[in-house]
Amino acid sequence: MSSPTKLACHECDQVVIIPALSDGQKAICPRCGFVFTRYFKKARSRLLAFSSSSLVFLLLSFVFPFLIFTTQGNEKVISLVQGLQSMGSGTYLSVVLFMLATTVLVPVMTLTGINYTLISAKLDKPLPFTRHILKLVFLLQPWNMAEIFLLGILVSMIKIASLGDVQFGWSFYSFVLYIISMAATRVFLDKYQVWQWFRHHDKRAYSYER
């Protein structure tokens, strides 16, 4: 990397210079312990591998039955979106919409955004709106609650275990795989590194060095 840039810690404002890091090393603020970045070799390819597989697993989990619930001979097959829909009437629409947004919409948008930016980073000239999409990806991150949804499913399973028989459908397993690959995606989705890829395209804007 070129001449070192002064950075202010996001959490405590300490001014630091990020040194060259080796594989797996973290740069930590000496004052408050904030993790600026964690460097991984080939982070871009690893990120592409995990984010594209997450997207595939997530999309697959919309297609098949999610849960199969049997009581007194009545079998009810529920898919992810349909299950959210069936509650969508009346006063509780807000909660359903919130759940729909945080477990379906935000993950789909985030993952599509990551894959878009990764393709964009491979090209000589970034695709249109890359920066906006990247910003959106990072802004939406705390609102991705898919893993909490999974825990919610397990809790509700146990609550009705006495009432009937619950079986997991293909979508459920796909969703579990999505959670796992999303966790891996998060490890490699490093704000500092990701923005750095685009700095090379645009040296003009990256001029503040003292």
Binding site: D13, L84, K135
Partner: protein, 225 residues
Amino acid sequence: MSAKGVKSDAQLIEPLSQDNVASSNKIVTCAMCYQSSDHQQSECPYCGTVLHVRKKNSLQNTVALLVTSIVLYVPANIYPIMYTTSIGDEIASTIVGGVITLWEQQFYPIALIIFVASVMVPVAKILALSWLVYSVQSNRIISRKNNQVMFRITEFIGRWSMVDVFAVTILVALIERGNLMKVMPGVALIAFAAMVVTTMLAAFSFESRLIWDNPDKNKGKNTNV
């Protein structure tokens, strides 16, 4: 360079001190893309994010959202979160009631998860944020670093309170509104979900750099680090 996975400190320019913070160096670093620019810039020249040397009205916003969440916490615990009807009997259960039922049915780990996520975490979050606001406002600092760690945990853990909300929503979707059995959501569901969202927003609007800002009152003791 050290071995894989070893933590490395970002290289320091100057010794750690109150003087070597960004505001006195006249730089501001974009929280989105890590671009440093002059502290008078209002927008990041690289990604266009609005820059703040300190978030405006951070404490007021945090307090307002905290009060909202405390207000919402009351109906969330008083009113039932769901009604279960089976063969004519309607049972209303509150959040705490649900935990007790699970405990009585000997689902100990799940009862514990729900108890931690929907009872302990919200209270702990509200207390932690209140303490942080008080600590910054009155400059009563025990340990800046502990405050920072407390804030980081608060920010991270907030989302997990949604577990119970999601569980109830899934239950309602799962059980058909048949004659024999039905599950209906209660008012507390909305109140609790809103409370979780407001505490999350309260954490996001808190400016953590304020934890480190005020000069030391008790001289001689280095509370800066």
